[in-house]
Symmetry: C2
Subunit: 107 residues, 2 copies
DNA sequence: TTGATATACAACCATTTGGTTTCATATTAG
DNA sequence: CTAATATGAAACCAAATGGTTGTATATCAA
């Protein structure tokens, strides 16, 4: 795994917004174009586009071109990264480990 | 569990900062005063105090008075809340559930 | 070819965030 | 009592965030 603090920051930051969590949820089961998604929220196309950029930067979704569309797909890998992190904190609390080296890189 | 979006926002937001994650990590195994913690980071006492306020607002740590000190203790309960959330997304991806009602409140 | 649709991107704005310094107050130690 | 320590809280600041509108470009449909 081997994560930098910045990567972890980006993942949790991206998850700290209800619209973005909803985009992840939807695209985990079914990919969607940006306009598909933009229809669903009460904000501009550009705002949704920005949310998707944040999610992409955190690795929580991927984009791929499909004609004139960009299809967005949720990436369960990044979610598992966050889960692993939280599990590590849980193990710290249980006293079974005292460091995060197994998960975090040294940079 | 029954969480509002705002509560979830606050938890993930609080976790999206390396200093705050470190405070949680330390105080999960051993409580500490604010000055104890402030010593450890290269920033002002007030800055650390603010990070602790953010963590407390998210329920990730609790404060309790001990003489002139305030002891900070990590709260594994809030961590488990985040874990539960992420597990729900995992189950969505696996097609085993398609909603988050079990975890999220309707407000 | 032309018009409609899908996306990208820039400029702008208000609010929030993460830091600072400073001052006030409470508590403990001598 | 007095000095030192621990905390709280305000005022301030730069940068980031989350939204907007407007414009440009690419692709599809008729």
């Amino acid at each position: 795994m081997d994560l930098s603090n910045d990567e972890v920051d980006r993942i949790f930051r991206a998850l700290a917004d209800a619209t973005r969590r909803d985009i992840v949820r939807r695209t985990l089961t079914e990919e969607a174009s940006i306009s598909d998604l933009a229809h669903r929220y009460d904000m501009s196309f550009a705002a949704v586009q920005k949310h998707i950029t944040v999610l992409e930067g955190a690795g929580l979704v991927t984009k791929h071109r499909k004609g004139r569309e960009r299809r967005i797909r949720g990436n369960p890998e990044a979610l598992r990264t966050a889960q692993t992190l939280l599990n590590a904190y849980e193990r710290i609390w249980q006293g079974r480990i005292d460091r995060l080296d197994a998960v975090l890189a040294d940079n």
